[in-house]
Every structure is written in C-alpha cells, then in structure tokens.
Symmetry: C2
C-alpha cells in the first residue's frame, strides 16, 4: 500500500518489464517512446511511488534547475521583497531557490558563494557587499556560472545588473523638498566605505558638477549625489554639517545621529533618509524627541515600507520597485542560463515619489522670487 522506500528508474523498469533506458525516456520525457510503453511505465511508476532524483539528473546533465541567491539579510523588507520577486519567476520556470545571508560581510559572502557553487546552482544573484574586492565573483565568471548583481555594481566586473535609479531618485526627493521651500535639508545616510576620497572631497566634487564614476558608487552615495545635484540645480549651497553619515546598516546608528543633526545651530527644517533602515532609525529618534511631523520637521524617506502609509501623517517617500527588481534579475539570469549571449546589461528601474503628508510647504524669503 504505502509508498515505502525510494524506487529508482531501474525498479520501475523491472516492474514494467522494459529496459532502464526506456523507463528513463518515459519518466524523463525525452527521446522516443510508444504510447503503450508510456502507459506501462507510468503505471509502474505510480504504483512504486517513483520520484526522480534531481541529484543524479543534475550530475549527468550539468544542470540543477536551482538558482543561488546571496542576500544581505532576509529579514530586511528590502531583501524580503527582492527575494519574493526572484522566487516568483524562479517558481514559474520550475527552478528552486537556494538562499543565503551575507549580513553585508565580505567573508560571509565569499563563503556563501562557495557553498552555492559546490551545490552546482545554474546561476547566482548577488548583492555584493564589497564593490571593489570580488575575486570570488570573477572566479564565477571564469567558470562560466551566470551571475546577476542586484542593487550594487562591482568595479571591473562586467556583468548583468539590476538596480534602482538611485541618483535620479535622490535628486527627485530633495527637489521635492526644495520646491516646498526648504533650504536647510538634512540627509541621513549610511555611507559605509569611503567613496571619492572621503565625504568632504566627495561633496566638493559633486557640488562642482564632477560626473565621477557615479554608476559604480554604493547606493547610499548615489542618493547623496542626487541630494547634491538637486541643490546645485536649485542654486542652494550644500552644508556638510547637514550630512549625517551613519557608517553602518543599522537603525540604531541613524537614531543616534538624528538628535545631533537637529541640535546644531541653524538646524535643518527637513530630513531625507536614504533607505528603509535609516528611515526606521530616524522615526524612532523623532518619536523620542516628540517632534511633530511635518509641523516641526518635514521628512522624505527612501523605500516605501508598510507603516509609511498609515502613520499619521503619511510619510512621503521614494518608492523603489523591489519586487520588480527581483523579478528582473531572475529573468535576466534565466536568460543567461538558457544561453543568451548579449553583452552585459544594466537595468535601472525608476523609483517613484509617493507624496503623503510629511512635507510642509514653507514660505521662502528668497530675493530671487
């Protein structure tokens, strides 16, 4: 009665009175088989509770129909959504998903990639934690393992990539505040690692309109670049004291920095937070300071988190298409796995300004008006 031990193709073949080759053809769906044999074999397979062994299949075909993903942290809503997007198209194409967390640590990422490679995934989707040192990723390419990056680029690694258009998004967010009459706009950004020779030098170059290698910057630096550009276009000077650098992906760091930012002489009248984690930390700080939004302070966040729409007031934010990013990445990867051989593409998805109630319109006493 019950499905006992695992039956192999050989068992099924014996029960059906055919060769393993024929049984394999029926069950694997390849080659030629007569309808008569088909019925016979399928019946035997059903009776024995036959289940194909993907290991054996993968060993010989060299394909596992499995995608590997190295995410920063599944628990973070950004990665959770991206993963869901990846999962959607993987599932639709009959692929499994092997998922690991890097916690933004290079060594854990290297370890993850090694694990996934050993398990012979057909392709990898990675959010690289280090945009410079990436021998492990170059290795993959030389082994001809398809690879797609999400969110960040790696210097010198020419490969498919999906990201939000962070510079434009940062610019739009800050323009929105400038247009509402704000002139002193604080920015809460994580800005891990040094880009462009330190923060001060970066701000100076950006303010001067230096194009830089903007494509290769970390997302938070790109959003900061957008912040500076919006200022430059509006003819408003950037005050470096309004740039808070958390230095790590942690809400606590943001929370600790906000009071400093607001406690200065001539404090900002508005804040721009550059990702979900910074937004969360900032909200905690503002709640602790018992500030009223937008009366005491205006706010534009990045990434549309659940709570932003039902806070009182709603939080204005740049919504990035997280699900679509994951889906796009997975589709590109599947394309490569199928053998598409075009040159590496970078897909930049636009973020959308969702205007809710966290921005106060200010009257500006501007001689130019």
């Amino acid at each position: 009665m019950a499905v006992r031990n695992k039956a192999t193709i050989a068992d099924v073949a014996r029960a059906a009175g055919v060769s393993t080759a024929t049984a394999g053809r029926v069950l694997g769906g390849y080659g030629y088989t007569s309808d008569e044999m088909k019925d016979q074999v399928q019946k035997a397979a059903r009776q024995l509770g036959y289940r194909p062994n993907a290991l054996a299949r993968g060993l010989i075909t060299g394909k596992t129909r499995t995608l590997g993903v190295v995410a920063g942290d599944i628990q973070n809503p950004f990665y959770a959504s991206v993963l869901r997007g990846i999962s959607n198209v993987a599932e639709a194409n009959g692929f499994g998903l092997l998922i690991t967390n890097s916690d933004e640590s290079r060594s854990k990422e290297v370890q993850s990639v090694e694990l996934l490679a050993q398990k012979q995934v057909d392709g990898l989707i990675v959010t690289p934690s280090d945009t410079r040192k990436a021998r492990h990723l170059h290795n993959l390419l030389s082994m001809e393992v398809p690879l797609v990056l999400i969110d960040r680029a790696v210097a010198g690694l020419s490969v498919d990539r999906v990201a939000a258009d962070n510079i434009a998004a940062g610019e739009q967010a800050v323009r929105h505040l400038l247009e509402a009459g704000h002139r002193r706009i604080g920015i809460v950004a994580e800005l891990v690692e040094d880009e462009g020779g330190g923060l001060a030098a970066f701000l100076a170059r950006a303010a001067a309109g230096d194009p830089m290698e903007a494509e290769g910057l970390y997302p938070s630096w790109q959003r900061l670049l957008g912040y500076v550009r919006a200022h430059r276009i509006a003819g408003v000077a950037v005050d470096p004291r309004l740039v808070f650098r958390a230095g790590s992906y942690s809400a606590e760091a943001a929370q600790a920095g906000v009071p400093q930012l607001l406690g200065q002489p001539d404090p900002p009248t508005a804040l721009f937070t550059t990702d979900g984690t910074m937004s969360e930390g900032t909200m905690r700080a503002l709640t602790a300071l018992n500030l009223s939004i937008p009366r005491d302070l205006s706010l534009v966040c990045f990434d549309d988190l659940d709570w932003m729409s039902f806070m009182q007031p709603g939080i204005t934010t740049m919504s990035q298409p997280r699900l679509a990013m994951g889906e796009a990445a997975a589709r590109m990867l599947l394309g490569r796995i199928r053998g598409e051989n075009c040159p590496p593409r970078t897909v930049l998805l636009p973020a959308e300004l969702i205007s809710r109630g966290s921005v106060l319109r200010r009257r500006v006493f501007d001689p130019a008006v």
Copy 2:
C-alpha cells in the same frame, strides 16, 4: 593562472600522481592518508582550483546537507524572521537552505514539497496551509524524511512542531484590556477555514469551557479561544457581533471589516488584532477613520512589527519570538537528521506582552466592584 574549467578528483589525482581513491580521501577528509600524500594532493587541488561537486557527493552519501523550507510568504515579516532564524542555525551547521512560498495554498505547498523532495533535502520545515488534508506530509514521513512543522499542527500527523503559545497569548492580550476596564472588546481575526462547526458553535463551546482539540486549531482560532477564555475568566459575556472574521490573510479584508465593527450600535471600546497582517489592515482603517488611539479606541495587536514601537502612541502588542521559533525548528530538524529518535515533541514558545501606549484605562461601573 586563472581557474579554468572545473577540475574533478580524477584530475587532481592525476596531477598529484596518486589514485582517485587517495585523492578522494584527502579532499573528502575520510579514511587514512599519509601527511606526505595530503600535502601533494592539496597542492594539486589548489593549483587546479578544485571544488567538490556536492551533487556527486550527495548522490552516493544520500545526504545533501540542505534543508527545505515551505513558508507562506517570504515577504511577510513573520516568515522573514522565522526564515532568518532557520538560516542562522543552518549556516552555523554548514547546511544550505532551499526556500519556497506556498501563499497558504495547499496545491502550491504540495508542489513545493515535491520539488524539495526531488532535490533530496535532508529534512523539511513546513508551515502547513491545510491542517487536515496532508497526504504529501504523511508521504514524507513514510519515506523517512525528517519533518518539523512551524506555527500550525496537522491532524493525525505526529511530528515535531514549534509554535507560539497562541491560546495563552490571546488570553493575556484580552485580559490586559479587560483589566484596563474594557468590556466591549472587538477582535479582528483572519479565521480561515471552519473550526468546530462554524464560528457561532465555536464561540458557544469555548464560552462553555469546552477544552476542544485546542492544540490542533489554526493559530487565529487559538487566539480567538484565548479571547473567549479571558472573557469567561473575567465573567464578561462574549458578544459574537464583536468578532470580525476576515476570512483570508489579507490586510485589505481587515481594513474593510473594521468600519463595520465600529459602526454597530454599542461599538467596542477596544480592538484585539490576531496577527501582523490584521494589525496592518486595522491600522489603515483607523487612520482612514481618523480615529485617535487610545482616546477613541484602545488597541492590542499580535506580533511586534517594527512600526509599533515608533508609532505615536506606541502600540501595545503580544510579541512572539519569531527568530527563536525558526531557530528552534531548525535545531529540532538537525537533531532528527543526525538520527535522534525520541518521540515527536511540540515546543510552545511563550509570547510576551509589550505594553506601550495604545490602551486607555477606563473607569468601569461594575456592580461587582
């Protein structure tokens, strides 16, 4: 120079001038080998960029060092945290993680389990979407694939399980409201599927103190049971009109139901929401109704989501240890994989009341006081 094509043990053996058996022993870390051979083989392996093929290894050992997980929806913070917990202990033990979404649909779950079984995972962690029909799970057991359930039980399936103590948690939440003087407490629950012959019958039996097969109920029914028990203990009658049944895991359904609940004659003065999704939908509804918490309405939620701590006021909630649930499940599963053979255990983790500012103390004109 570069690591070119994949080198096999045979290649390494040839380069080192030994047999594949010896090379295998060195690289696989089993059997006896002299230090001399070890060095020789390892050097050759390094030069060739040898990477073990987990498929071949798994095919012969029958172990893949991979865990399969069927979650409801990675994007949901509950599952995201549970997954992170599972991932933590899997990683610490050198196991990979194959993750799928069921979207609470039985057919997708069956499909997922089949996929994972074909990929020969060493064990499975499942949040079953149907607590009755689960032939696919019984199948696993008869194939001796270790299995751990999270959050929900399956009737007649005697297997390890990890869950929050939902009944006690529901009771504690509602007791908290009763003690604050609330007498008309609404409950927003998803309550999918019928338990105990329909809602009315369930309420009647629960109010009569019928113990029922409480262990096997869906979590939201268990939390409802806690709601009824708290009422019974306090000597307060349960009004069925205060029980809103969303009927699906959707914030929209909750959002739509709250106005009905509040629009009745003699409306509730407090609400208890039974999970994160219901809480989100309820918050949306309350925001839309422009109600002030806790002045117009008190609120206790279930599951501690990020925003609950920095809303103004903070939301009082029953915090369930999601990460720990995932970790416990993974640890139990690994134990089974290692061959532990004790009878199936159910681990019930307590939820903790986090008291913030969403509950108003009411003066009760109670003849008994």
